[in-house]
Symmetry: C2
Subunit: 455 residues, 2 copies
C-alpha cells in the first residue's frame, strides 16, 4: 500500500506493523556501518520519514549509490520510532532507486540565501522553507474556498484580457497579436486595444447583481517598474463582492475572513508555522494570535490624520495633512503605536480613491476602507460602490473616463440597483502576513517582476 508521509506521521498506533511503500526524494543518508538511516520527503509533510535499513539486507549496498535529491521507493514496515524527532519510522525491506541525482545538485544540506534560491525556482520547493510555503499557500486557498462556499458565495472567473481598466490606474500590459503597434487597433485580435486586467471588480459587480454574493480569485497584473519586496507584476487577488451590503457589512466580512484564515492555518499547518516562527520571524505566532484576539478598531481618515498630527514625538518622512495619501509609515504608526492592533481606516477623501466608490453625505469623503495590521500595513482595501446611476455617471464624466466603455457598468444601476460592497486581498501579501516571509518573491512559485520572467 502506497502512503503519503503525512498520513504515516499523523496516524495513530494502528499503523504499526503495516507494510507500506513510500515514494519521495532523499533529504539525507547516514551510514552507521551496521545500519543506515535514509530521510525521505514527498512534500506532504514538513517532517521527513526516517527509514532504517540493516546491513544484512541485500539492498544495503545501494546506500552508497544514493545521493541527496535522488528519488526512491522505500518498502517496509512501520515501527514506533525510538528517536524523539518522529513518532513512526520505517524498517526498510527494499530500496528502489528511481532517479538518481546529479552531483551538482544545488540543494545540498546547508542553508541557502533566498536570493540564490530564486535563481533555482524550479527546485526551491524541495527545501524546508519552500515546502512549507507551498503547503501553507495550498491550505490558505482551500480554506478560502471553504469559507466562501459555506456562506453561499459563487466562485466566479472574471476576464484576464480586458479592454477597460478598473481604476484608470495606468501601468498596464498590452496584449496583442499585431507585429506592428502602429497598425490600426481594428486589425488586432480583438479588433480593439486590450490589456491584462488589474482587477476583476467591475465584472464581479455585474455578477453580484443577480447572484447576490460572489468572489473572484485569479491572476491580476501591474506593469509597475517596482523592485520592492512587496510588488509583483503578476499576482493573485481575491475579490469578494456582495449585493445588499454596505461598508459595515464589508468590514465585518473582511475581518471574519482574515481571522478565519489565521485560525485555519494555525490549526492545519502547525508544523510549518512552528518552523516559520522559529526560523523566519521570531514572534510570528504571537503576532497572529494577537490579531486573532483583537477587535479591529474602526477609525475615520479624518480622525487618523488628527491622530498623526498630534503624535508629537513621532517624526514622519512624508508630511501629514487632511487630503494626503497615507504612507506606509503613517499606516504602521496607527496600527503598531497608536492602537496596537488591526485598524480599519474608513471614509477617505474622494480625490484619493477610485471613481466607483460611494459618496458619503459630507460631500468630501467616500465609503472606502483599508485594513492595516501590525508589521505589514495595509492587508486589504475595499469600499461600498456607488449605486446611484446619476451620481456614478457624474463621477465618470468628472474623471474624463470613456463613457462608452462603462455603459454596461452604468446599466447595473438602471436595472434593479442595490447597495453593494467588496474588498480586494492581494493573496501574496496575505501569505507574507501569515508566514512572516519578508520578500513577496518567495511566496509565489515562479515570480514575475520587472526584468524577471524566468522558468
Amino acid at each position: 500500500m502506497r502512503l503519503k508521509i503525512k498520513k504515516i506521521l499523523k496516524s495513530d498506533d494502528s499503523i504499526i506493523g503495516k507494510k507500506i511503500k513510500v515514494y519521495g526524494w532523499v533529504k539525507s543518508v547516514r551510514d552507521q556501518k551496521n545500519f543506515a538511516f535514509i530521510e525521505i520527503n514527498d512534500g506532504s509533510s514538513f517532517s521527513s520519514l526516517q527509514g532504517v535499513i540493516e546491513n544484512s539486507n541485500e539492498d544495503f549496498r545501494k546506500i552508497l549509490e544514493i545521493s541527496t535529491g535522488a528519488s526512491l521507493c522505500l518498502s517496509g514496515e512501520v515501527v514506533k520510532s525510538p528517536g524523539k524527532n518522529q513518532t513512526y519510522e520505517m524498517k526498510i525491506e527494499h530500496i528502489e532507486i528511481i532517479g538518481n541525482c546529479s552531483e551538482d545538485f544545488p540543494l545540498q544540506k546547508k542553508r541557502h540565501s533566498f536570493e540564490f534560491l530564486r535563481t533555482i525556482s524550479h527546485l526551491r520547493h524541495r527545501t524546508n522553507t519552500g515546502g512549507a510555503i507551498n503547503r501553507v499557500r495550498n491550505s490558505l486557498i482551500f480554506n478560502t474556498h471553504k469559507f466562501f462556499h459555506a456562506k453561499d458565495f459563487f466562485y466566479i472567473q472574471t476576464p484576464i484580457i480586458t479592454s477597460s481598466d478598473t481604476e484608470g490606474a495606468g501601468d498596464l500590459f498590452r496584449v496583442t497579436t499585431l507585429k506592428d503597434l502602429k497598425k490600426p487597433e481594428i486589425e488586432d485580435f480583438f479588433k480593439k486595444k486590450t490589456f491584462l486586467t488589474v482587477s476583476g471588480q467591475l465584472n464581479a459587480e455585474a455578477l453580484a447583481m443577480g447572484l447576490s454574493d460572489v468572489y473572484t480569485f485569479g491572476p491580476t497584473f501591474r506593469a509597475e517598474n517596482s523592485h520592492t519586496s512587496r510588488h509583483l507584476a503578476e499576482f493573485w487577488m481575491l475579490e469578494p463582492e456582495m449585493a445588499f451590503c454596505d461598508l459595515k457589512g464589508d468590514i465585518e466580512l473582511a475581518q471574519d475572513y482574515i481571522k478565519s484564515m489565521i485560525k485555519a492555518i494555525l490549526k492545519e499547518n502547525d508544523e510549518d508555522m512552528q518552523f516559520f516562527d522559529q526560523f523566519i520571524e521570531k514572534g510570528l505566532l504571537e503576532r497572529l494570535n494577537h490579531v486573532l484576539d483583537s477587535n479591529f478598531e474602526i477609525l475615520t481618515y479624518t480622525k487618523a490624520i488628527d491622530t498623526l498630527l498630534k503624535a508629537k514625538n513621532q517624526k514622519f518622512e512624508f508630511p501629514v495633512f487632511w487630503g494626503c495619501d497615507l504612507q506606509s509609515e503613517h499606516e504602521r504608526f496607527l496600527t503598531e503605536q497608536h492602537v496596537k492592533r488591526p485598524v480599519v481606516v474608513i471614509d477617505y477623501p474622494k480625490d484619493l480613491k477610485a471613481f466607483y466608490m460611494k459618496d458619503n453625505d459630507d460631500g468630501k469623503t467616500v465609503a472606502a476602507m483599508d485594513i492595516l495590521v501590525p508589521k505589514i500595513g495595509e492587508i486589504t482595501g475595499g469600499s461600498q460602490r456607488e449605486d446611484s446611476y446619476e451620481k456614478l455617471l457624474k463621477k465618470i464624466k468628472d474623471k474624463n473616463l470613456d463613457l462608452d466603455i462603462y455603459k454596461w457598468y452604468l446599466d447595473l444601476r438602471r436595472y434593479g440597483s442595490a447597495p453593494h460592497s467588496g474588498f480586494g486581498v492581494g493573496f501574496e501579501r496575505l501569505l507574507q502576513f501569515i508566514t512572516g516571509i519578508e520578500n513577496i518573491r518567495e511566496v509565489i512559485a515562479f515570480p514575475r517582476a520587472a526584468g524577471t520572467c524566468d522558468f
Copy 2:
C-alpha cells in the same frame, strides 16, 4: 433574520412560522386584486421564492410600482405553500423597494436567443439558464478542489506571463509594455519577449518533482482565429501532474475525476440539471448516467485506426491512415458507434504529439492518452512525460526548440527524476459536457474570442 432563498426552499418544516427577510430581484408580479404574488430570486436557487401580499397590507400599493428586475427586500413569515410548484412561500408583511428597474430592461418574461443574451453578458446570469450555468460552474470548481484536496494534491498557481511556450504551438498573445515592437526585446518590461501561457504543465512538472501530486487551475490562452462553438481565446484549464505515476495511473485518475464530478453535480445541482435535461439537451441525464455506469474502454491508436478502416458503411470526410490525426468525426465514431461509451485512445504516433511525451518501446509511438466521450468527442488529453534526460534532450534538439529556454526543464531529469504523468481538462468544455450547452461562449461569464472582448 436574512435568509438566502435556497436555504428556505431546501429547509424542513421547522422553518414554518419563522419571520425572515429575503433580498433579491423580481422575476414577476401578478396582481389578483385581493392579493398579489411576487416571485423573487437571489441566484442561490433555481426556483424563486413566492411571496404573497394581501390588499389589506399598506405596502400593497407598492405592487403597482414594482417592475420585473427590480431589487427588493421582502419581510414576512414562512408558510407552507398551497401551490404545487414550491414547498414554502412567504406571507409578506413588508416590501422595501431597493432599486427599481428601468422599463427598457431587456430580460422581460420571454425567451431570448443565446446570441442576443451574449450582447448583454452583464445581465444574462439573471436568466434561468444563466443562473443554472453559474451554479453548476461554481459547484464543479468547488468539487474539483475537494476531489484533489482529499487526495492530498497541492493546488498550485503556474505563471500566466511566460517566455517559453509549452507545445511550440504558435498562436500566442504577446504581452508587452513597448510602444514600438521594433525596439529591442531587452527594452521590454521583462527584458525579453513574453507571451500569455498556453499551459501550466511544464511548471507543474517542476513542482510535482518534490511535492508529488499537484494541480494547476487557471486561465490559459490561444490566439487562434477560430469562430467555432468549441473555441475561446481565454479559457480555464485544470492540469493535474503526478510524480511516480505512469500512463495507467494517469488514465485512472482522469476517469475517477470525470465520474466524481458528474456524480457531485447530479447530486448537488439536481434542479439545475433537470432544467438542462428538459430545455437544453433532451436526454442529458441519461447520457451522463451512462458515462457514470461505464468502464472507459482503452484502445490503442493503432487499433483505433484499424477499427476506422474496417468501418465499411461509415463515410468519413477525412482520410484514415496510420499516422493521421484523429478528426472529430473519427473520435465520435469510436465512442458513439463503435464502443458506445467513453473511449481512451492511447499510444499515438510520436509525430502527432508534443515533444515532452514519453517514447514507447516500439520507437514509433508515445505514452499519450485522449479520452473521448459520446456527443462531445475529446474531453481530456494527457500523457506520461519523458523522464530520461538524454531522450528528452534529443527530442528538444530534434524539434529545434531553444535549449536555453528548456534548461531548467531538463534539470528536472537530472535531480531525482521520476516517471510522472498528467492531463489537461479544458474547463469550459467539461461544462459543455455536463450541461449540454451547445456553445462554449455560454458557459463562461464574459467570453473572449477573436473579435470579442466586451465587458
